[in-house]
Every structure is written in structure tokens, then in C-alpha cells.
């Protein structure tokens, strides 16, 4: 691999890992609180759709971002009301929401855009940091990224801090491990989990707008195409911790980037293997073959007072 190719590979790995990372950290918040939030796929799709429509209608990617967040809000609210409030089966609710969002965005997209689907949608500006961006070869290829990539860094830091060091984070983890004890301590598991699901909605929507107006400046029907499920796999492979989930996302991003890079370099690797790799790794991890896995004990278990 030449240095130039390697730089391109690094850059595209980061670009591909980013939406995954933002969504996976959102999913992590829900799962730490005991909610297996399968609708992260639908939340991302709603965010991507809202972002694209908003940016196209207003001409401003910033307002598009806002629209994306608003579009994912009803999905998150439904997920929270149904699974936390009404204790509906979390997996089925998630799958139901995903199919509902897929249908709704597809229908709405055809109604709104119709024949104008080739219209350019304004997207986020790119930016490169002053010093790192000046490194020859790598500066442009690796560090010139959409500003959302750089905005994600403090976001991750804050999230990690809240989860590890604050009462809120510890309570959240407790709600996923032993909800009865949390309840006995006088705290409401319901409100904690409700908040966790809404947080996931916010993060997934950000990730979704990254897909539509950050990366490729267009919306296509069902464009998330399983990215949400990949985020769930990242959380599992990440053993429900922030650090390992971030690593998992970069690993999965690199695996995706390789799918495009290897053929260009004339190396033949079964494509299916690379696409499957994240799920395979996550499976090996939960099978206990890659260290000990500790899922939240109350994951996917509805809480009854």
C-alpha cells in the first residue's frame, strides 16, 4: 500500500466510522439503562430524512440538522412510551418502528421530491485543524472532515465522563443491572430509561444527518441500510463500555473502507466476509471467545414496579 492510498484509507475509515460511532454511543446509553433499542436504525433513517428535507427546503445544512433531530423525536418518544411506559417487547417495538419509519420516509420522499430527486442538497462544510491539517499527504486526506466529526470528539468525552463519573451515569448503569434496587433507593427507573431512550434518539438523529447531509449530500430510500444494526453490534463487541465501543466503531469503519480499497489494490478477499466481519466479531465476543462479556443484567427486560 502506498502512502497516498493508506492516507485515503485512514480518511475514509474515519468518515465511515463516524455515523456508526455517534449512533453506537447513543445506543450504549439505552442499553446501559436496560433498553435494547432496536429502533436506532429507524431513528437514524428519520434523522437522515429530516436532515435532507430540511437542508433542501431551507438551503441551510444547520437548519437541516435541526429538522433531522426533530424528525427522530417522534420515533424516540414512541420507543420510550411503548417499551418503558407500556413495557412492550423491546425487540418487536424496535422492528415495528423501523418498518414504520422505512415506509413513512420512502412515501414522504417520493411525495416531496418526486421527479426532482437529483437536486443537490446543501451539506455540512468540511474543516481541517490548523497543525494536523498541514501534514503533507495525510493533512488533506485524513484530517479534512465534515465539522460534525470534530464536534463528535467533545460529545464522546462528555458522554464517557457522565457515564463513569457522575451520579446520573451510575444510576443509569444501575437501572440496567438491578432496577429494583434503583427503585428502592427512591429513584424512578421509568424516568431514567425514558431519558436514556430520548438520548439515543438525539444521537442516532445526529448520525443520520451525518449520512445524508454530511457524507453524500443526498437522501435515498432506506439509506441507513442496516447501519443501526451495525451500531448495536458495535455496542455488543464493545462490551457495553465507551472506550471499547469507540474502538469497535473504528474497526468496523475500517472493515467497510477495506471493501472499497482492496479491489482497487487488486487484492481479492470475499466481500461477504468483510461485510459479515463486524457481526461475526460481535458474536465471538458474546460467545465468550474474546474475553469476558458482561451485558447489563436487565437488558431487554421490562421493569415492573
Amino acid at each position: 500500500m502506498t502512502v497516498e492510498l493508506f492516507a485515503v484509507f485512514l480518511g475514509s475509515s474515519i468518515r465511515l466510522a463516524m455515523p456508526l460511532l455517534i449512533a453506537a454511543l447513543g445506543e450504549l446509553v439505552s442499553e446501559r439503562g436496560g433498553v435494547l433499542n432496536m429502533s436506532v436504525e429507524g431513528m437514524m433513517l428519520a434523522g437522515a430524512f429530516g436532515g435532507a428535507v430540511g437542508a433542501w427546503a431551507t438551503g441551510s445544512p444547520g437548519l437541516g440538522l435541526l429538522c433531522g433531530l426533530l424528525a427522530a423525536l417522534p420515533v424516540a418518544l414512541l420507543q420510550a412510551v411503548l417499551t418503558v411506559g407500556l413495557r412492550a417487547n423491546q425487540v418487536v417495538t424496535g422492528l415495528g418502528l423501523n418498518i414504520l419509519v422505512l415506509g413513512t420516509t420512502t412515501l414522504a420522499y417520493r411525495e416531496i421530491f418526486g421527479a426532482r430527486s437529483r437536486d443537490e442538497i446543501p451539506g455540512f462544510a468540511t474543516w481541517k485543524p490548523p497543525l494536523l491539517g498541514d501534514i503533507p499527504v495525510f493533512g488533506e486526506a485524513v484530517f479534512r472532515q465534515v465539522w460534525l466529526v470534530y464536534a463528535a470528539i467533545p460529545l464522546v468525552a462528555v458522554l464517557a465522563f457522565v457515564l463513569r463519573r457522575t451520579a446520573l451515569g451510575i444510576t443509569l448503569t444501575a437501572a440496567g443491572q438491578d432496577p429494583r434496587t434503583v427503585e428502592r433507593a427512591g429513584l424512578s427507573v421509568t424516568s431514567i430509561r425514558f431519558g436514556a431512550v430520548l438520548t439515543t434518539g438525539f444521537m442516532a438523529a445526529l448520525a443520520g444527518t451525518f449520512l445524508s447531509i454530511g457524507d453524500i449530500h443526498t437522501f435515498t430510500e432506506g439509506m441507513t441500510n442496516g447501519a443501526g444494526y451495525l451500531a448495536i453490534a458495535a455496542v455488543i463487541f464493545g462490551n457495553w463500555t465507551v472506550g471499547r465501543t469507540v474502538l469497535a466503531c473504528f474497526l468496523f469503519g475500517a472493515a467497510t473502507a477495506l471493501q472499497f480499497q482492496l479491489p482497487a489494490m487488486g487484492i481479492v478477499v470475499p466481500n461477504a466476509l468483510l461485510v459479515m466481519l463486524p457481526y461475526l466479531l460481535a458474536f465471538l465476543a458474546v460467545a465468550g471467545l474474546v474475553g469476558r462479556q458482561t451485558a447489563p443484567r436487565a437488558l431487554a427486560v421490562p421493569h415492573w414496579r
Binding site: L86, L100, G103, Y229, V286
Partner: protein, 358 residues
């Protein structure tokens, strides 16, 4: 009215209300996208009961949903949520194709030419799902997570199998050769019930009916059914009663997987005849939803499978004939799922003993 028949009435009423409400919303949506209502209605009828072909296709679809749904209900009795239907269909399809394409099979007498591939499909599905069972018993892995991951792996396994000539891809004669398997030999195709290609409903329909009966008997009348329920309701007490937890959960998931694998085999040998990437697309997850909506009852599985089978077929015809995107049916399906999943709260509250049920 006794409380149990009251509960049954509620159980039946909820999905019916949900379906009616969803159809109403669907009608409004049709009007919103400026499709004349009579056109929509006509294509809906065409796609569901308008022709023997439409009925047959809907029934074949319902058979797949029913098999996966039965598996879900069976595993749910042992307190397990089998999210792996999609993957079990996929490995079933791979196994059925591989065996059907293997030289000597097509020459077998007495219908063994399609029975052997179908059995292999069921075994492959069972083995695939049993992996999750073993993990649950040995490592304590949450079966929701393991079966979900196994589904994604299996879906990409199909993709890999039809991409590689060393596996199931048909020999490449030109650059335009599609990434798919060779068509299976005629002798290995599952026979049609009517014998008439204009109404291609397969004997899978009869098979699914028999299996539904068997599952109902096993769940409600057999020692094994009791064992499943015991483990599902209270693993610790059931262990004291002498039931092995590990064996029970592994068997439950394996049986669910066998039903899913069989569904995949039927799809391949009865309808598609050629293995293609994504052939299972969504069937397994729809089947899971069918199983959940059934709320543990075999009759419920049959009703929900028929509903979704016909609804999906209607969606496809409505797109072709009236220009209504299939997305509309997806919306309706999503609404029905959410309504019934959410309503479980009120239903379960009336039966304090079954709080753990879906």
C-alpha cells in the same frame, strides 16, 4: 363471562381493532397521495383474492410466516425470545439448495428428492439456532443478542455463497453471469398442491397445518410442553423438579430453528428455485412479529400469518397496478405491530401470573 373467556375476547379484539384502524389510516394515506380510492381498492382485491395465483402466492407467504411464528411461540414458552428467524431461513435456504444441487439427490424415488433437501434445511436451521441455546446454557449469553447476530451472519453467508464459484455460484460463462446459484433440478422442487402453475400453492401449506397441530399438542398436552413452560416460568424450581435447564433451552431453540430452516427450504424448493442474495429479506423478522402478535397461541400464529401474507401480497400488487408504493403497506404493518405490542400492557395486567410473557 368467566375471566378467561373475557381475556380471550380481549386478546382477539386488540389485533382486530389494530388492523381496522391501520386499514383506515391506509385509506387516508391513499387519498393523500392522490390515488383514486376505487383503483386502490381494486388492486387490493386483485392482489389478495382476485385470482387463484394471488391467493396461492399469499398462502405460500403465510406458510413461511406461520413456520417462523410457530418457532417463536415454542421458544417463548421456555422464556426465550428467538429473534433469529431471518438467519434460520437463510441457512435453511443454503442447505436446501446445496443438497438439491448435489448430483444423486434428483434421482431419488418416492419424493425423497425434495424431502431430503427439506430435512437438511430443517437440520441446518436447528443447528444454527442451537448455537444460541448452547451459549445461553453455557455462558449465559442473552439469546436476543446471539440470535440477532446469527441472523446477520447468515444473511451475509447467503451473499458469500452466491458470490463464490467454489461454493454455490453458477459457473461464470460471461461477465454478465448473475451472482446466483444454478436453478435446482425439477425433481427436487416441492410439488404444487393443485398441480397447476396458475395456482402455485405448494404442499408446504399442508405441512404447515400439520406442524401447527403438532406444536399445539406439544405445547398443551405433552410432558415436553410442560417442561418448556416450567423452565420458562421458573428456571430454579424446574431444576429442582429434575429438568435440565441447558438441555431444555437448547432443544427449544433448536426446534424453533428447525421450523425456520424448513421455511427457508420451502421458499427455495417451492417458489424461488434459485438461491439469490437477500432471498430471505424481511421474512424472518415478519415471522417473528407474527409469533409475538399471536401471544403464545397457535391459532393466533395462523391468523397473524394469513393476515401478513395477504397484506404483503396486496402491497406488491397495489404498487404494480395502482402505483401505490409498497411503503404504504410497510406503514400499515408497522402501525399494527406497534399497536398490538403496546396493547400487551393492558392485556397482561389482567393476568398477573403471565407478566413475563411478551
Amino acid at each position: 363471562m368467566s375471566s378467561s373467556s373475557f381475556r380471550l375476547a380481549l386478546d382477539l379484539l386488540t389485533p382486530v381493532l389494530a388492523v381496522v384502524a391501520a386499514l383506515l389510516i391506509g385509506t387516508i394515506l391513499v387519498a393523500v397521495i392522490h390515488v383514486p380510492l376505487p383503483d386502490a381498492f381494486e388492486s387490493f382485491v386483485d392482489g389478495t383474492v382476485g385470482s387463484p395465483y394471488a391467493i396461492a402466492v399469499s398462502l405460500n407467504r403465510a406458510v413461511v410466516y406461520a413456520l417462523v411464528g410457530l418457532g417463536f411461540v415454542l421458544a417463548a414458552r421456555a422464556g426465550l425470545t428467538n429473534v433469529g428467524g431471518e438467519g434460520q431461513i437463510a441457512v435453511g435456504g443454503i442447505a436446501a439448495t446445496a443438497v438439491a444441487l448435489w448430483g444423486p439427490i434428483a434421482g431419488l424415488p418416492f419424493g425423497l428428492a425434495f424431502i431430503v433437501p427439506l430435512l437438511t434445511a430443517a437440520i441446518a436451521g436447528a443447528a444454527w439456532a442451537a448455537l444460541a441455546g448452547v451459549l445461553k446454557a453455557r455462558v449465559g449469553t442473552n439469546e436476543v443478542i446471539s440470535t440477532l447476530l446469527l441472523s446477520f451472519i447468515a444473511v451475509w453467508l447467503v451473499y458469500g455463497c452466491v458470490q463464490s464459484e467454489a461454493l454455490l455460484r453458477r459457473p461464470m460463462t460471461s461477465a454478465a453471469t448473475l451472482p446466483e446459484s444454478l436453478p435446482i433440478p425439477d425433481a427436487t422442487q416441492v410439488p404444487l398442491l393443485t398441480g397447476d402453475p396458475a395456482a402455485p400453492v405448494t404442499i408446504g401449506l399442508v405441512l404447515a397445518g400439520i406442524l401447527a397441530l403438532v406444536v399445539a399438542m406439544v405445547l398443551n398436552r405433552s410432558r415436553f410442553g410442560f417442561q418448556l413452560a416450567a423452565v420458562g416460568l421458573n428456571p430454579i424450581a424446574s431444576r429442582r423438579a429434575g429438568f435440565s435447564y441447558g438441555l431444555t433451552v437448547t432443544l427449544a431453540l433448536a426446534l424453533a430453528g428447525a421450523l425456520g430452516g424448513l421455511a427457508g427450504g420451502l421458499m427455495l424448493l417451492g417458489e424461488q428455485y434459485t438461491l439469490r442474495a437477500g432471498f430471505s429479506s424481511g421474512y424472518g423478522f415478519d415471522g417473528l412479529v407474527v409469533g409475538l402478535l399471536a401471544r403464545g397461541s397457535v391459532l393466533g400464529v395462523i391468523a397473524a400469518a394469513l393476515l401478513f401474507g395477504f397484506l404483503r401480497s396486496a402491497g406488491i400488487t397495489m404498487e404494480m397496478e395502482a402505483g401505490i408504493p409498497t411503503a404504504l403497506v410497510q406503514i400499515l404493518q408497522g402501525l399494527i405491530i406497534l399497536a398490538v405490542a403496546g396493547a400487551a400492557f393492558w392485556l397482561d395486567r389482567r393476568a398477573p401470573g403471565s407478566r413475563k410473557a411478551p
